[in-house]
Symmetry: C2
Subunit: 195 residues, 2 copies
């Protein structure tokens, strides 16, 4: 069992509706030991994909993404949820992302200047559930005619359709921890083997 999974077992807090909070080491306070494991696992798995850029979405994807980017020695780029005043709409790739939790559609954006058809982009995110954020990032990479090198996820909720949606697009998804089920009543998490 990896260190991230161990911390989830010890400190994960379950809220109604299968919501898992892991704020004490990944999403609000961030443990560097968890980051080191993430960096090592993603590097080992994707190291032959000629990664030229790491892409994530603000804010909780930034920490794992910069650690992985530093390991690959390539730039990290994060999609913003609000357009900066200095970025014109026509200068950005945008994608709509639906939030099941909030029941809202938001837009994420990346300046066109930072992605080119020569890029092989590793997408990194903290969670994968329905796959909305990851699909938005894939959409942005495709708009730039760049290649998706793969998708690296820290914690996958394997009982939700995110992985299947990404795999249907022919993408290679590697998740460090895969959660098979969350039982809100019993406060119990079960894990799936493998990646």
């Amino acid at each position: 069992m990896g260190y991230l999974q161990q911390r989830i077992e010890e400190e994960g807090v379950i809220y109604p509706g299968n919501v898992l909070k892991i704020d004490s080491f990944l999403n609000h306070q961030i443990d560097p030991k968890v980051m080191k494991e993430i960096e090592r696992e993603f590097y080992d798995y994707f190291k032959n994909r000629k990664v030229t850029k790491v892409l994530t979405v603000e804010a909780s994807g930034i920490a794992p993404a910069i650690m992985v980017a530093a390991r690959f020695d390539v730039p990290m780029l994060f999609a913003k949820k609000a357009r900066p005043a200095t970025l014109n709409r026509e200068d950005a790739y945008t994608a709509e992302v639906f939030s099941y939790t909030k029941q809202t559609v938001s837009e994420v954006m990346v300046p066109k200047a930072y992605l080119s058809p020569k890029d092989s982009v590793l997408i990194i995110d903290d969670f994968l559930a329905n796959g909305e954020a990851a699909m938005g990032l894939v959409n942005i990479v495709e708009q730039a005619r760049a290649e998706v090198a793969g998708v690296g996820i820290c914690v996958e909720k394997s009982f939700q359709p995110g992985r299947a949606r990404l795999e249907e697009e022919g993408l290679d998804v590697y998740s460090i921890v895969r959660i098979a089920g969350i039982d809100s009543n019993r406060q119990r998490i079960t894990f799936k083997d493998g990646h």
Copy 2:
């Protein structure tokens, strides 16, 4: 001249009102070489302060803060600008931060559980101008009766009062790059020596 200053000279974009955009290597796309310099400089300067935690504010402070935290091997904590549904108001330390650019007051927050009087907290941020965000973070550390180990800033606008405000509080401020002036008309940046 350090690498961060060199990149600012080469790629910094000046907008009216002394606004400096360095989105291509620090604020939107992030160069791991810049991060390595930041990590090294802050570690060298603050290494004897018994740092137990690194604190920043989302989103652009997260990348430098996690790199520095990983070097110190201590947790990184970021203040959020919106309160998560799972965090009760009474369980959070909050501080108001005024944005001169947007002319708005916003609130930043950290769960009380992640700061204690035993902590020696290194505050890291990407920019220091009027010092509003940094003062908000200092305020949060003080509410927790923890100690501020120091304030590490990537890019300081030395012609604005942020540093003076922090130093009046008796804090040790270390900035990797200090900008003496920005001339919007001539598109010219001048730097201040030292830290």
